[in-house]
């Protein structure tokens, strides 16, 4: 028994360790706070100089806008990472469904056995025959065994009730904590969206400030650093907005991921042993990730185990591409020949040779729309 039980314990603990290893690092909180501080300190006199600075304000505003964009990118990552963490928290609180056993009612049987044994013992008690006395001893042992069963059944009943009662209490507490996690997730997602919008609004504000300072007529070429649009995860997914009024140039230097690119690049496969997944279970998956000039591209092919009766296509195959961002989790836009679009997220796992894949391909019916699993490097 020890080996399978130890295996199950190890598997359970491994799941927990993996889940906690995926938690957003503390430094992402510090990084966004640092970016916030840097943004605020970049040009504290920008607004007060709006009247006097004239056309030069444009360049200064661009510089501050770039810092604001960096901050909001990190802020959004932080909030989304925290939301993902809260989701993982909720998913770790799986219910333990203990049901009450139907205990057999053997009181009558035990009682009648005891009566029968006692009466037989009484009947032969005075018989001196050695063989009869042997029988009497056997009857005594049997009667003692019946009495011991009665005690054991009482203990059994009590322990069964205690287990059922404590399980109900634990399940109620679990549901409460799980509910709180879900609320936290929803709040963080809402804040992430609002932070994203705030980032856009700050960018619009700096443009408007710059336009107002130079009279909003003469075109100005920014001399400030470019907006780090690649630092924002959405920039890798959505095409850049063509806005003639936006004087901010296209990015020249892209932020590097906080981890070496080798953690993302190469050929990866779904392990046949010790696989981890969330949601739909893959049967197989192969991923290839390439990089050229800061641009990622690659292909994911996966086959999923569908629930009985499902007529969906179990095979998922798509290409993806995009720029590497400055975050641990890299998100890319995906496409395939059927016109499916969506996003693919690559998150380095707890070990150097593990990579978490998280994809979402929208709502096209008859296809696998979401997948989340851990791959191992080939």
């Amino acid at each position: 028994m020890k080996a399978p039980v130890a295996g199950l314990v190890a598997a359970g603990l491994a799941l927990i360790v993996t889940a906690f290893a995926q938690s957003p690092p503390q430094d992402s909180s510090e990084a966004q706070q640092e970016a916030h501080r840097h943004w605020r300190e970049t040009d504290p006199n920008l607004e007060s100089d709006a009247i006097s600075a004239g056309a030069t304000l444009g360049a200064r505003a661009d510089k501050v806008a770039a810092e604001a964009a960096k901050y909001f990118s990190l802020r959004k990552d932080y909030l989304e990472g925290s939301a993902a963490d809260a989701r993982r928290g909720a998913s770790l609180l799986e219910p333990v469904n203990i049901t009450a056993e139907a205990l057999p009612n053997l009181d009558r049987f035990l009682s009648s056995q005891d009566t029968f044994l006692k009466s037989t013992i009484d009947t032969i008690a005075r018989n001196p025959d050695r063989a009869i006395q042997q029988l009497r001893a056997a009857l005594d042992r049997e009667r003692a065994a019946v009495a011991a069963i009665g005690t054991a059944l009482n203990d059994s009943q009590k322990s069964q009730e205690a287990a059922a009662q404590s399980s109900r209490a634990a399940e109620q507490a679990r549901a409460k904590a799980s509910d709180e996690y879900q609320k936290l997730t929803a709040s963080l997602q809402e804040s992430a969206q609002l932070a994203d919008k705030s980032g856009d609004d700050w960018a619009a504000y700096y443009r408007a400030l710059s336009d107002a300072a130079r009279g909003a007529t003469a075109p100005v070429t920014s001399s400030g650093p470019p907006l780090p649009s690649t630092g924002r995860e959405s920039a890798a997914v959505e095409p850049a907005k063509a806005d003639a009024s936006n004087a901010v140039p296209a990015p020249a230097a892209r932020p590097l991921p906080p981890l070496p690119l080798v953690r993302y690049l190469g050929a990866w496969t779904y392990p046949t042993m010790g696989a981890h997944y969330h949601g739909m279970q893959p049967e197989s998956a192969d991923l290839v990730v390439r990089e050229e000039n800061g641009q990622a591209s690659g292909t994911l092919t996966a086959r999923f185990r569908l629930p009985a009766g499902s007529a969906d296509n179990p095979v998922v195959r798509f290409d993806f591409a995009g720029a590497f961002g400055g975050t641990r989790a890299q998100r890319f836009a995906i496409t395939n020949s059927s016109g499916v679009t969506g996003t693919l997220e690559l998150i380095p796992g707890p070990a150097f040779n593990l990579l978490e894949v998280n994809f979402n391909t929208g709502d096209k019916p008859g296809t696998i729309r979401q997948g989340n699993f851990l791959l191992i490097k080939k």
Partner: protein, 260 residues
């Protein structure tokens, strides 16, 4: 020796129950899952219950040295053993799942406790953001009179300040919700540990009950042997030395008229 063999059989059976299926399956109840094990417990209990309550009635219709008497007791004993194995498997898996959950709760609690500061910082930063956006707007107000075009960025700032107020509210609610979450996790850890103790106690009583039944059937078998030796010592000696007859698969009523 018999008890050792029974113990080996029980451990082997439990191991087999675990080996044939994992705890979790995405495709519904797996062979080793709690619902499947619960079903097995119900079946084994029903089978044993039927045999146990009818045992004396069956044996009473047989002669003391009839091999079917010994077989009938063996059959009930094995059914009791099977039930005990099913119960042990069920509660062992329940214990493992419970332990895994308790470990997960411990990890989550420690993680959330470490993040308390984050949410406080978050809420105070959101408050500072509101003040910042308001102050920036105020610094533009005096300039708008001299450069009316600044009214546009000023409006943008007002909108941003509104968003920040909403973000501040969310951050404050989140800080409060996080406090509740930590309380909930602590409560869950306590109740999980209580459940774990109850499950462990249940496992102990299941084992004890199984042993008591085994001891009873051994005593019952011993009595049958002595009853046989009283009637026919030679037959009793053969029975105790020879192999035990195979039991009937299901309880069968004894032929009429065949009474002790």
């Amino acid at each position: 020796m018999v008890l050792n063999l029974r113990r080996c059989f029980r451990l082997g059976a439990i191991a087999a129950a675990f080996a044939t299926g994992g705890i979790v399956s995405a495709q519904g109840p797996a062979p080793g899952s709690l619902p499947a094990l619960q079903q097995s417990v119900s079946q084994r209990t029903a089978e044993w219950n039927t045999l146990a309550t009818n045992l004396e009635q069956r044996v009473a219709r047989l002669l003391p040295c009839d091999p079917q008497a010994r077989a009938a007791i063996d059959e009930v004993s094995r059914a009791s053993e099977a039930r005990s194995v099913a119960l042990t498997s069920y509660w062992t898996v329940a214990s493992l799942q419970s332990k895994t959950q308790v470990e997960a709760i411990r990890g989550l609690l420690s993680q959330e406790e470490a993040r308390v500061g984050d949410w406080v910082v978050d809420a105070s930063q959101a408050q500072a953001d509101v003040a910042f956006a308001t102050a920036q707007g105020a610094s533009l107000t005096s300039s708008v009179r001299r450069l009316p075009a600044l009214a546009n960025p000023q409006k943008d700032l007002q909108a941003i300040a509104e968003q920040y107020r909403l973000l501040e509210k969310q951050a404050q609610e989140r800080a409060a919700a996080h406090g509740r979450l930590i309380d909930d996790l602590r409560e869950l850890l306590n109740s999980g540990q209580t459940r774990q103790a109850a499950i462990d106690e249940r496992l102990r009583t299941v084992g004890a009950e199984g042993s008591r039944w085994s001891a009873y059937y051994a005593a019952r078998q011993a009595r049958a042997q002595i009853e046989c030796s009283l009637i026919d010592p030679a037959a009793a000696a053969v029975q105790s030395a020879g192999p035990r007859p195979a039991p009937a698969a299901v309880p069968r009523p004894a032929p009429p008229g065949k009474k002790q």
